[in-house]
């Protein structure tokens, strides 16, 4: 018996003594949060990741929610395809909404991607003050994180007018849900973050091209003041951008938008979403969601210039409305730079020629993969904001030159408006054509209180002549079209299912 006890002890001894080490197996092909957020490089990588959701947010999503959901763009109905309600409901102003909740998938994407950006910014902001990294890096990274968080909340407050206010990183399930913040609370936070960011961020000329700058933070801050009608505060920020000497208009309007691999972050660019053509998954493909369908390969290639064009079918979205096309004054150079035409042999329509958004249509190498950047703030908008802020303060003489700077570049004569009301309309008109398809239209209509009247009239025109608005012979305007014209979207249903707060 003794022997056997010794035998079994001998067998087991080795393994027993190191059982804790034996049972600790950490992942070898991923880092764990315990070891991260230490070095300068860690924080730079962390803030870099906070930019990433912008690529999703503006790779057609923002366009659908603010341009197709306005009088600027529509869908081209293809009766062979269903499951297009997420897009067509936006254009038809019949987004299904009950009790302040909507099932629209594009709304859900906007909500989730903005919070992804905010959460990544929160992660940086929670740890960076205590980090031992060079001061210049600390200020720069913190400024970028604050800017991105402000940008995220500005998007959310404009879409929903209320949203959960989450300012710290979440560590477990119980912390996940945050209470709904009111518009006032959200705007206060955005102003605080953007103001801090202005102080922390370097100017554009000394910042790596494409990252947030003090100028970008000022533009964002001014945007908020414009919404809040704090015209003088807006003017202060906007004048600081103008007087910084960092920005000017590109001589040619078309050059204000990037090509697939060049002409990015120009001197007109205040902030733009960065894409990179290629197989690394950092590309955009929004151009392919801005075309009428079905389009044959030989038709598509005239727009994209790729080596491997593929025919595309489905329902076309984000097609310029005749209303927008007509909004351009005669001689406006921007019209040709913004809108092109394509004839589709396979269209089920009597008129097979459709307009498309030409502004971003730049040749690139491969099908469905391009590197054109998406503008968030351009200097021309700074000028138009400034003109508007001055007009609202009745500084009419000061305002006109800023407006005319934009018109001159477009090949148009100076404005003839002189009264405050006329100048105000002139700026509105100018914004519509200058900033067409830059995800501004819905926000402008809401900000200026014109949504209901403009969209109602537009809806009547659509119903009166459906073929003019790209319906094929078999298509029809849904009976509930233009029944839900509200300034804000309902909160997403999928999130309402999860949150105890709405």
């Amino acid at each position: 018996m003794k022997k056997s006890i010794i035998f079994s002890i001998a067998l087991s001894l080795g393994a027993f003594s190191c059982s804790d080490d034996f049972l600790t197996v950490t992942p070898e092909t991923a880092l764990s949060s315990v070891t991260f957020f230490k070095t300068e490089s860690d924080f730079i990588q962390a803030v870099n990741s906070a930019y990433v959701p912008l690529r999703t947010l503006h790779n057609i999503n923002s366009h659908l929610l603010t341009e197709q959901h306005s009088d600027n763009a529509r869908y081209v109905r293809n009766v062979l395809f269903g499951a297009t309600e997420n897009q067509s409901n936006l254009a038809d102003f019949n987004v299904p909404t009950a009790n302040g909740i909507t099932t629209n998938g594009n709304v859900l994407t906007a909500y989730r991607q903005n919070y992804l950006m905010i959460a990544r910014a929160n992660q940086v902001l929670a740890l960076i003050d205590a980090a031992t990294i060079p001061d210049a890096t600390k200020k720069n990274v913190k400024g970028q994180a604050l800017f991105l968080r402000a940008l995220g909340y500005l998007d959310l407050v404009r879409y929903f007018n209320k949203a959960p206010l989450q300012l710290t990183p979440v560590g477990n399930r119980s912390e996940a849900a945050a209470a709904l913040g009111t518009a006032d609370q959200l705007y206060a936070q955005i102003i605080k973050d953007a103001t801090d960011a202005v102080g922390l961020l370097p100017a554009k000329s000394v910042q790596e091209a494409g990252r947030a700058t003090s100028g970008a933070a000022r533009a964002l801050l001014a945007n908020v003041y414009m919404i809040q009608k704090k015209w003088a505060d807006a003017e202060t920020q906007l004048r600081a951008i103008v007087s910084s000497g960092e920005y000017s208009l590109m001589p040619n309007y078309a050059d204000a938008f990037s090509n697939s691999t060049s002409n990015k972050n120009t001197r007109e660019s205040v902030f733009e979403v960065q894409y990179l053509e290629g197989s690394a998954g950092l590309n955009g493909n929004f151009l392919y969601s801005m075309l009428p369908f079905p389009i044959a390969a030989n038709e598509l290639v005239t727009i994209t210039g790729t080596s491997n064009p593929q025919p595309l079918s489905g329902e076309g979205n984000n097609i310029p409305t005749p209303d927008l096309i007509e909004a351009y004054e005669t001689g406006d150079k921007r019209k040709d730079a913004t809108i092109g035409y394509i004839t589709l042999g396979g269209a089920l329509h009597a008129n097979k020629t459709f307009p498309y958004i030409k502004k971003y249509a730049r040749p690139h190498a491969l099908h469905n993969n391009h590197g054109m950047n998406w503008p968030i703030y351009r200097y021309s908008e700074v000028l138009l904001f400034l003109a508007e802020a001055l007009i609202e303060q009745n500084k009419l003489a000061d305002a006109a030159p800023f407006l005319n700077q934009v018109r001159t570049r477009a090949g148009l004569a100076n404005t003839t408006a002189t009264t405050q009301a006329a100048l105000r309309d002139a700026v509105y008109q100018e914004r519509r054509v200058e900033l067409a398809f830059e995800s501004k239209r819905l926000h402008d209509l809401v900000r200026t209180g014109r949504l209901e009247t403009v969209i109602k009239a537009y809806g009547d025109r659509v119903k009166a002549d459906k073929f003019r608005y790209y319906f094929p012979s078999e298509g029809f305007v849904p009976s509930d079209a233009f029944t839900n014209i509200t300034p804000y979207y309902g909160l997403p249903a999928a999130e309402a299912d999860l949150s105890p707060n709405f």
Binding site: S8, L31, Q123, Q310, E474, L498
Partner: protein, 1032 residues
Amino acid sequence: MKRKFILSKSKFRTLYSLLALVLLFTSSSFAQQSITGKVTSADGETLVGVNVSVKGTTRGTTTDANGTYKIEAASSATLVFSYIGYLTKEVVVGNQQTINVSLAVNDKTLSEIVVVGYGSQVKKEVTGAVQTITAKEIKDLPVSQIAQKLQGQVAGVQINQTTGRPGQGMNVRIRGQLSVSGGSEPLYVVDGFPITGNIGALNPDEIEDISILKDAASTSLYGSRAANGVVLITTKRGKSGQTNVSFNVFTGTQVVPKKGRFEMMDAVEFAQFKKEYYEDAKQPVPAEFQNPSIYEGKNNDWYDAVLRRAPLQSYNLTVTSNKDRVSTSLVAGVFNQEGIVINTKYQRYSLRLNSEYKVSDKVTIGLNIAPQYVFDNTPRTDGDRGTGILFNAIHTWPVMPIRDDKGELTLFNRFPSSTGNIFAYPNWVRAANELVNETKQTNILSNAYISYSPIKGLTLKSTFNVELLNQKFFFFNPSTATSAINTAVPVTAVSIREATDNLGWLNENLATYVKSFNNHNFELLAGYTNQSFRSESSRIQADTYSDDRLPTIQGAINIARGGTSSNVQEWTLTSLLSRLAYNYKGKYLLTASIRRDGSSRFGSNNRWGTFPSLSAGWVVSDEDFMKNFSKVSFAKLRASLGVTGNNNIGNYTQYALINNTVNAVFGNNVAPGAAVTSLANPNLGWETTRQLDIGFDLGFLNDRFQFTYDYYTKNTTNLLFAVQIPQESGFTNFNDNIGEIKFWGHEFSLNTRIVDRGKLKWSVNSNISFNRNKVLALADGIDRVYGLHHITKVGEPFGQFYGHLANGVYMNAEDLKNSPVVPGRSFVGTIKLVDVNGDGVITNGGDRDDRTILGNPFPKFTYGITTNLTYGNFDFSVIGSGSQGNQLWVRHLYSTANLDGVFNLHREVKYRFRSEANPGKGFYGTTVGGGTATGIERDWQNSRFVADASFFTIKNITVGYTINKRNKLFRSARVYASIQQALVFTKYWGGSNPETSAQQNGQGDGGNLSPGVDLFNYPVPRTSTIGVNFNF
């Protein structure tokens, strides 16, 4: 526990001595004499380890390696010879000094030895729910996987063949166990080694017997891996004193019967449909479809075109020997199956060498080693419209030519867009022929052990087991073909290479102590084990080849970064285990066991789990009062209770991970980005199942009729689930242990030897099982989780089909007016859905949702029946397997009944609504209205997608003839013919395989939360074979 045991032992020893004294006084004592002898079996084999005792005393010994014994006994004494598997024999000593005994084999199955966890037991004394299958019972089935052979054979075990892909797709569920996100496959233990590899690759001819452990008492010694049930596989050993050589071969052919295939329109019917489509829409009919009869005789059956008649062969050589302390068995096998989809090939070369050497009476060493090579090439058959060529083939317009005028295979087909053709249809025959999709796997399974018996009754055993796997996967899509629909050919050529190396090892140290006295029988087991597994893999994807003939990595112009990666997966497990089995006279049975598992997968706050069990049995038939019931030959009551776990929760789920490829772009530069992409949970643990089992076994008429019944109820709690959390957190989910599911069921087995008279023997075995489940709780604040077409909701069974209730079509304007509608999308002739919430409007999702539970993928009951008939040298057997009340989600119907005519259509669409005067069968709606109207029928999941998938399948029919004439060539031989998957009786209309599931785990169709989905998998062929078994 052990200490206590020793104490009580000494008490018993005192009692013993007293008893012996009494015996001495009462019996007339004679002089003791020394008796020797040899024990053999009836056919002369030496029997080693036979118990020889003097009746009425405690004196006893066992036979040695030569089968001899020596014992002291008086001439009036009686010697008792007992040996497991043989009938006990008593011999009065008299004046003999040499007593040679031959023992007869005990046919009564209850004396069979049953392999149980970490040991074996006499079947009669088993207190858990264990079912065994021996190799003999399943030898003729011409299939490659052991699970295929078990279909219909075991009560409480549902085995579905979800795909016909050779070597793949067996879905085994013991007692309906399931999981929200973990795996639900049972644990497979081969010769004591819980393996991590694919059991489907194991050569069934290597198997001696299989034990299926179902209740907690029999599985809980496997602790945190036991909740899905345990399958113990024992491979072939040499039999005492025998050398056997056998050679088994079969060859056959496989076909997919025409009957039972999903019915699609032929070219004329399709052209007619298209013609009517335009007519009904009051549109001009495209020239291609104005006269459907032009397609007469020009049908292209794309599905049939990728199928073929395919051969299969199997060769197995088995040599077993047990002589002079050495026992060896060798199994060498070759299995070669061409699949019934073009270019499918499955080959297995396997070898197993099991050897054991008795170093001395006390020490035994053994080594089993089983290397194997498996080659598998399958075109991308299974999968969605994206990639599965079978799915794509049925969708392809039958008016599109497979071959051009010169007889060459077309590259791809596309009609003018004026015909409503949206997709380019590549040639699937080319895809099947030209795509390479092959896996080469080399693996070695090995066990080495030493066992030592220092004193009588005590055995110490230490084992070291190793499992090695090297797997290489190669995929090549040349420029001339593709499996993806809507792709014009030529395409960009792509290659994918994956290499995986796995190393798993297990060290077990077990001590077993057996002690019997005065009819009290004890067995105590204690053990300590360590197991570790590590997998390293890499993947390289490259594309854009200048020459399809050279699919090397360097031949590619581009390395696709997104498809190129490396990965390491690792886990460790340390365990302590113990079992005490006690019985009195083999009549009152009690077993208690416990295991403690420490696992690297569990969170740091929750590293160790404890899994106890207790079971009891009472062999009622051994009681005196049962003597009056002479027809009852056996009766046993059993009950067990225990806790088991499921540790299939992922290797690193507890950690918060940083993804360092969340890269940003600035200008034209890539800036590396890193983000926290998951939340840590240091409390993460195993899924816990508590199970109660009550059952009984009955034998009648000398066990000619044997009946077994089990009732079980089990509750699984702490289900691993990625609980969705509000995304203002920046995360989508939190991995937590949540919820509770209750399972319960009844299992009945009846084995009968109806006729056993001379040459004629007829037996029928049958079983039926009823499994149920109900979700009792999910996470706090969450009462439902959605699958793809499913809902898992508190108070309902798991994974129910979910969507709108369809109620025909709107028959006319009045019907439309009086019924709830989808605003803007309902018209006369479109699908009519039920307004479940009664708000007057049909709504899909959101706060006014009308969706409801539509059906159940789980059967009401499953059953199996096996019959064997022998007459002299002829034998005949049939195996049937069935399932009743289960439904399938006919997932492909969203496109095979797409009323817009983008794809070829299910033949039933001919009987759709066309007008008030011609309303069809009321199932499919009008084609008029384009996607706005027809889209609801297709995209809003509804009860039209749910189909009854009850079935009864004759899995196998075999007829054999045995030649017993010993001749120069062989000792005996048997010739047989066998048909596998002979007949399927079902009303299922969604495809040919009612057992199908798009997949078995994961989050996709057919996965954990979305069970029972038909995505047009590889069909299961009917296989006809002839075979010969030679014994030399």
